[in-house]
Assembly symmetry: C2
Homo-oligomer: 131 residues x 2
């Protein structure tokens, strides 16, 4: 991060977060209009700064080890309406406006489309394609 | 976990989850009635099994390295209404009924009471005690 010039405001933004030992924080994206939890992803400091600068969610992909401007390929960007931090600073909650209402790479509205059915003791896929 | 007898149904529950290299998965608790995201915590396999058995949220505290039946001391238990899993199996979403409407150890409804104010470039504490 030494190659990024941070102003005092950006420093204030970053300092409140308890970054884990990989320099990451988990981020929950919730759709403002519906209240639906859409997905969970990770940010590093640069991703959070980029999110503020762009006004759209920018995550850090652990698998590809790079910044990931959500929707950069699919078009399913997330306009950030609010950024919240939890009591101990180790989780961020983004309130977003989800472009096209599709957050998941599978084409689903939310990534949380599997539900545990305790009666059948099995995970039930509730994605649209399975309905 | 070798000391716990798991039946096939429990195995099916556990096998769908992509546990991280510490054997943990992040868990988002969302209040079913309001849609509010209350908190984020972690579970290991035993915590998830205990959650199913009790019907109340049981997490794994990384700081105390033990099972944590949420509300065991405060009384602010979380009755589990739904258990959802995301597309790649690495995050759980619990839909809960929050006893007394208080999820945070600070006495707040939700742990996410700090909000970034971009105009002032500062985190604003929106907890009840500050209103």
């Amino acid at each position: 991060m030494s190659d990024i010039n941070k102003n005092p405001q950006e420093q204030s933004l970053l300092d409140a977060v308890n970054w884990n030992d990989q320099g990451l924080v988990p981020v929950i994206a919730q759709e403002e209009s519906s209240g639906d939890v859409l997905m969970m992803a990770w940010m590093n400091r640069e991703a959070l700064l980029e999110t503020i600068r762009l006004g759209e969610a920018v995550y850090w992909t652990r698998s590809r080890q790079k910044l990931w401007h959500k929707g950069e390929e699919s078009g399913h960007t997330q306009k950030v309406k609010e950024i919240r931090l939890d009591c101990d600073g180790d989780t961020i909650l983004l309130m977003v406006e989800q472009k096209d209402g599709i957050a998941c790479h599978t084409g689903e509205h939310s990534c949380f489309f599997k539900q545990w059915d305790s009666a059948k003791a099995t995970w039930v896929d509730q994605s649209i394609s399975k309905e």
